[in-house]
Assembly symmetry: D2
């Protein structure tokens, strides 16, 4: 459970307050507002605030004076049309803000998405908690032999045990060094009155990349979908994918029609190259095609056949 009782109480207090608003509201998202959705061993994602809904996409696309929405089927048609033709600006008119607790190495990938607003917990200013990520046994994979930046088979037995032991031991030792240099406990109590303690901005460098940090992260719906299409993808590292998947659930609640169009036209679709398209046309026409004459590399051919649902 990633929350302390005090944190839980703060969240409950926020959730208990209801205020009337003239703004667009989304009941399904309000239901989980502020609640922590657990991710990995100590992390979470919480929706803190949102602006707009599916109708706001329609309203902006029509630059309307009122809601701008017409019959449900027309609105749905318009949203699908916008997604299909990559008319992205109406989706930028919705905004969402998350509070995320995540390992530093995940934060380092995440921050590469530049079109977002971020406030991170400051380890120059405050002391980080003694919380670090240890992969579940089902995620302890060997280096892939075919893909230089991916995972292969699961480690098991003694090797897995050794890895888990090392990760835990080194993280614990790093934290002991951290608080010893700070001369402060996690709670802020001075350890040895005869020492000054190293500046926080320096001591933090002793912590390893699996320690948890936190931030407020805010972005618009279009850039969120970009983030999700890259980070919920099978090529993304499992640990960031776990966050992306939790966030897709919040998008389903927030803008269900947009989420449906996103699955139809982006997540579930496929991009064919010029040569891949030529092969596809010939296959449909019933012509035999081989990798050798296709102009595709072996890897591209294999991927194309998988996309087209054919034996490689």
């Amino acid at each position: 459970m990633p929350l302390t009782p005090e944190q839980k109480a703060e969240i409950d207090r926020l959730r208990a307050e209801l205020t009337p608003t003239r703004r667009a509201t989304v009941a399904a998202l309000e239901e989980i507002l502020y609640e922590a959705i657990p991710v990995l061993d100590h992390g979470f994602v919480r929706v803190i605030d949102y602006m707009g809904d599916d109708a706001a996409v329609v309203q902006a696309a029509r630059v309307s004076y009122g809601k701008g929405t017409k019959r449900v089927s027309e609105d749905r048609g318009l949203i699908h049309y916008l997604m299909r033709h990559r008319h992205t600006t109406p989706f930028e008119m919705c905004e969402i803000k998350y509070h995320v607790k995540l390992p530093i190495f995940v934060a380092r990938q995440w921050i590469r998405h530049r079109t977002a607003n971020v406030n991170e917990y400051s380890a120059r200013y405050s002391i980080l908690d003694n919380e670090f990520y240890i992969p579940a046994p089902g995620q302890l994979a060997a280096q892939s032999t075919s893909n230089r930046q991916g995972r292969g088979e699961l480690l098991t037995g003694a090797e897995a045990a050794r890895v888990l032991h090392l990760l835990r031991e080194d993280a614990e030792r790093a934290y002991q060094g951290y608080v010893e240099m700070l001369n402060e406990d996690e709670g802020g109590a001075v350890r040895d009155a005869g020492r000054q303690g190293l500046a926080r901005e320096l001591a933090r460098m002793n912590l390893s990349l699996n320690f948890y940090t936190q931030w407020y992260w805010k972005t618009d719906l279009h850039n969120l979908l970009n983030f999700l299409s890259l980070r919920a993808d099978a090529h993304a590292q499992y640990e960031i994918r776990a966050y992306a998947e939790a966030m897709i659930g919040t998008v389903d609640r927030w803008v269900p029609i947009t989420a449906e169009a996103f699955r139809q036209y982006r997540l579930g679709g496929a991009h064919l190259s010029e040569r891949g398209l030529a092969v596809t046309r010939r296959l449909i026409a019933g012509e035999p095609v081989t990798q050798e004459e296709s102009g595709l590399s072996k890897r591209e051919w294999t991927e194309l056949m998988a996309t087209l649902g054919r034996p490689g």
Copy 2:
């Protein structure tokens, strides 16, 4: 009055709907939500939606689980501190969306602020209204003789009358050409069944830059304040300044503490150059200083003396 009765009714309908929300709400801004604040002769600014309030700035700066706010004086102190030290990211955690009706030449200046989301009314798709900006007599200024990109004295008499006549006549003629080429009336009715009508994406090029366009424009509080500090400035062209001033009123309602800090540390303050600071120190020390030995140009000297409240 820039709104048609239908538009007014649509707005009233939106305003009448109240929904409970768990999100931060700001009563003073809800009061004017969706309402058109008139600007120039046919333009307006309307707040369409907002996310966050002063407390959300505090909450993000503290990366808190709950509201994050403490005593009012502490929160106010923190917001002032953030503004003073240009810690800009917590202000990015609030977001606002406007619907704006504005002359095209104003839109061309406005769009240069890139960190915003925009959906503009499409003249490829729809027909523009016959509405154009004519300056009020009090704004009909001659070219400045001292500042190559500013206004000088007011035009009066025959010259002023001639200018107003020309602006109006040319805009009307431009619109007549536009609808004749379209072969459609403003309302969309075909004029001459024997003609096809020029494509809208082409016909629009006949309109002049004082015609009104509209857009939805959404940005975060930090970037909004940047926009306002540049566009509410005395060096900005009057027409865009009129919009900036209307928008400052909405910021006062939305985030009053941030607005106060913005006035204290940005709008009302002054930036001194290295040499300007040296002159200031000498003046405080009671030393006589002249422009010649100050290292400042005549214009810089004049500006500095004005800033310091001294006769030039």
Copy 3:
């Protein structure tokens, strides 16, 4: 010819100067550096500066100390791999700067690409030239009946003549009003010493959207390719497409391997939706499929069949 003799001489002077540099240089692009490539009736695109080449993409992807390039085939493979998997950051490591002369209505579409740097000729500060865009007869299209934001059949005969006449006459009148209000000729000479002349920042509003403006526009290779994929597309308005096509020629000279990969994986490829992919798989398997049972709308079906090279 869009250039005056003075402008031509300035360009020739720049072209004549050669300086040795340690930076990556591209001979094929140097050949046309600074030269105006004509676009539309009075516009142009000129490459003013560039940073990097195909090898710089490789170098950045490898974060190398030297050139980072290996055998040509390996470098080409890497660039194709990056393009195929949308690893976009290495392409951001190349930068290009253009000087563009373009009608204002084209500039209004262009500026929507926000990830770029822009300096536009200031009509607050200077007087605009008497140059406006008049479509060639082959571009004088009627409104499309099937696509609300596109062109249909060509206008011909009296209607075409009337459109051309109106466009020209209204633009000329707009310019006459402009210089009369300014009380200055195009060259800056005062017309009537007894008048003050309207401020430039106001007078410009009388000009129509087909007048030419100019700007310096600078962007990185990744964002340039995004711009080109949207603006060289058949759905883009012809006038901006004309610029995009001229620019693709400069990309071919600058980064030929990247340009080739761009054609292979983006321009020449196709994106299939989830349902479109399901239809494709069934067609390859030899199953009969109809639009009705496909789940695709008629328009989507027609587009898919066109993509797959089948009769609709």
Copy 4:
């Protein structure tokens, strides 16, 4: 010395190649092109490429066909004018690319500047070197007692020695854990053929934040100056300031007039708040002012007096 002989040789090879170009070149910057400027114990900054020079700022501001420059004094005056009035877009027309080797905790601060292009060395793909940052004794400061995010007095004696020992020992242990989990040496040699080795993307999480990473970082001159004004500031953490200071040296070589204006109007200047300005005016007028009646907090008063060169 942060470079291996192979890296040094690669750099020398690049430096030896001179090619003629028609582009703007800057001899003083070419002199150090590709060379590593050492920063901290194992880091460096290298200028890899650049676009434009002081004249390019002038050229863009004038949207010129040729160089756009006039007499040196006029160009200098224009650049100072642009800097003084925060006309930032002409400075965006110059671009620079660096290769930087830096500790991960510095990289985490640096990446917050979003308007830049980045390619980082991938620890999903490759093995990181056994190089970590250990502060020099002169940087081993205690937590500040007055500023919650700053440094106070230097640590000395046993406490300093203990900190240095802990930092080094923990980093070494972290690296040992890293290569043991990888089952590979730094050079890539398999350690134990009987083990598979943990995936690189997982093993890297064992490294601490003082390990060095590297990236290519590219930005425009305006955003670079923003970065430098924040990171060369006394409030910035020493470790990132060391990089900023090395980079200011490269700006001096590249665009000396812009660098001079930057010092005059930004680095060396001061911003006064509304109340600070009121106090300044009264001091110049010879009036006595006290902190109590100034409306300034004690800290603001102290800072203002320091700015104005008066005893607090």
